[in-house]
């Protein structure tokens, strides 16, 4: 535990010091929320989910914030590799599993904090939290998204030589995951041939889970959401730990 805490602590220190990163990664989901939310609020009719597009969009933007921050946090170990710091950690008499778990929890914490900031800001643009239990449930889903996608980032970083592939991963993996997750629109409104694809996107269940927690309405049963994203978290953590064990310097 103490080793996991040590790695986590380092992540927190770096996070708190990188003010520009904090603000930078808040700004994108926040702008999405403001421009899309207010811009489309009067145009978009949501069948069966009340009329308010902003309230629909908030859980999606919270999930987006957690997703991008966590993948980025995971992939960051490439920098540790390049700047040599990873060697210092790997040559210590500690297991790689502990290092990987510390890194995952560190990344997940920063991601959840980022998502939480969006959540708090959302309170000013229309989000009403009437049910504290639902709020905690949403937080739980954020934690699962954070852990699974940081582990996903670590898994990718363990096989990557440098940051040149980063843009590729962002454009061809992370962005489609986000786009297909139902963060921006209800998955039921998609054409019949795309609809089923969204069900293969683990983030869909994360977004729907958060949405259920915050608004009380979701298109997928929250229990199913919990089971799928929970299972995905376990699989990603195992995969990340496995690939990190084989990392070469």
């Amino acid at each position: 535990m103490d080793i996991i805490y040590t790695i986590w602590l380092r992540n927190m220190k770096r996070y708190i010091r990188s003010k520009s990163r904090i603000i930078g990664s808040i700004s994108m989901p926040l702008f999405f929320l403001l421009f899309l939310g207010f811009g489309l609020n009067s145009v978009v009719q949501l069948p069966g989910i009340g009329g308010n597009y902003i309230v629909f969009l908030i859980p999606g933007m919270v999930a987006m914030s957690v997703l991008f921050t966590s993948v980025f946090s995971g992939i960051q170990i490439i920098w540790d590799k390049q700047f040599g710091f990873l060697k210092e950690t790997l040559v210590a008499p500690v297991s790689r599993l502990e290092i990987m778990l510390g890194q995952t929890l560190g990344g997940a914490t920063t991601a959840v904090l980022q998502g939480f900031m969006i959540l708090v800001l959302s309170l000013f643009i229309g989000l009403h939290v009437s049910n504290p239990g639902g709020f905690l449930l949403a937080l739980g889903f954020m934690v699962l998204i954070g852990i699974s996608f940081t582990a996903f980032g670590i898994a990718i970083a363990s096989r990557m030589e440098d940051m040149t592939g980063f843009q590729l991963i962002m454009n061809f993996v992370v962005f489609p995951l986000f786009g297909l997750s139902g963060a921006l629109f209800p998955i039921s409104s998609l054409p019949a041939w795309i609809g089923p694809i969204t069900l293969f996107d683990p983030l869909t269940y994360g977004v729907e889970g958060i949405r259920y927690g915050l608004t009380g309405v979701s298109q997928i049963n929250p229990l199913v959401c919990g089971a799928v994203i929970g299972g995905f978290t376990v699989v990603m953590t195992i995969l990340g730990a496995f690939l990190f064990r084989k990392i070469k310097l």
């Binding site: 380092r10 220190k13 770096r14 700047f83 060697k87 040559v91 310097l249």
Partner: protein
């Protein structure tokens, strides 16, 4: 004297390239031991194996009696390493870098705090302890890394090219630190270097390594004595004629090297005029002539027939080809 490191037939291959070729030697406790050789000779690979970062292809080694293959954690606890490339977290302060290391090695909080203070004082970074490492100069970073490597009280410290890229003043300063450390703390230090003076001034014993093989191993003094006295370098348009002309019994060795002839002999100052007269009577032209006391550079040259710089140029092309191979 007890043995701190025991290395037996250690070998490491990367595909077809034999990076470390069947090396064997012992390092005694409290010794400063130098691995001297050009870049790409196999020094870092050797160090990586001894520090359990890389598995040997064959052969074995023990550090403090602990086998490097069978008990990795045991070895890791008893060694400290300063890598060739920087391995600090630049976003953290000096203190935080030390603290992170201390926690990784599970040093209890009170002892950790006390040792960090003590070590930062030793490397004269006490007043900068709360500054972010990004603001540190190359020399300061190196000192911090050495302090960090000592935090868990290792009995063996590996220094991989500890003064690479530092200015001469800082280099001298670091040498003093290293010497003091070995003397006062009784730590066994194994350092790799391709700086001849570094090995000469700092090390009790030096192993010269080239193409993965140990080609000589002794104290710097013995190695230099092995040359056979002083070194006279004669430059001439006809070096072969000089070699032929200097077949005298008081000359230990004559070697041609490009347009230079390197002559080893005792008491060169007394014989220099005889050499010049000899060459003049045989009408061999001389461009320039120089005398110096033997250095490890001469030792390297006498064993490999090449200067260390020529070897490095060689290795660079080879390594580039090798890297290309690995990447594809």
């Amino acid at each position: 004297m007890t043995v701190a490191l025991h290395i037996e037939n250690l070998t490491r291959r990367f595909n077809d390239l034999v990076a470390v070729d069947n090396i064997s030697f012992d390092i005694e406790h409290g010794e400063i031991f130098g691995l001297l050789g050009p870049n790409g000779a196999g020094k870092t690979t050797t160090l990586s194996m001894l520090s359990t970062m890389l598995k040997p292809t064959s052969g074995s080694a023990t550090v403090n009696g602990i086998d490097i293959e069978h008990d990795e954690d045991g070895v890791r606890k008893s060694i400290g390493i300063v890598f060739q490339d920087q391995s600090l977290d630049e976003e953290l302060t000096a203190w935080e870098n030390m603290d992170f290391h201390g926690r990784l090695y599970r040093i209890p909080a009170d002892i950790r705090k006390q040792r960090i203070t003590e070590l930062l004082r030793l490397v004269e970074l006490e007043d900068r302890k709360n500054d972010i490492v990004k603001t540190f100069s190359g020399g300061m970073r190196r000192r911090l890394e050495i302090a960090r490597g000592l935090l868990h009280h290792p009995s063996v410290l590996f220094l991989d090219e500890p003064t690479l890229g530092l200015d001469p003043q800082t280099r001298n300063h670091l040498w003093q630190y290293i010497a003091t450390l070995a003397r006062e703390k009784g730590i066994t230090i194994i350092l790799t270097t391709h700086y001849m003076e570094e090995a000469d001034q700092l090390c009790n014993r030096v192993a010269i390594i080239d193409h993965g093989k140990i080609i000589a191993l002794d104290t710097p003094q013995n190695l230099k004595d092995g040359i056979g006295g002083d070194v006279v370098t004669i430059r001439s348009p006809d070096p072969a004629a000089i070699v032929a002309a200097l077949a005298e019994p008081w000359i230990t060795r004559v070697e041609q090297h490009n347009d230079e002839v390197i002559v080893s002999l005792q008491n060169a100052e007394q014989h220099i005029s005889t050499i010049v007269t000899l060459l003049n009577t045989k009408q061999v032209p001389i461009q320039s002539i120089g005398i110096h006391k033997p250095t490890l550079e001469d030792v390297f040259l006498s064993f490999t027939g090449k200067t260390i710089r020529e070897e490095e140029a060689n290795h660079k092309t080879k390594m580039r080809m090798f890297q290309r191979m690995v990447r594809h």
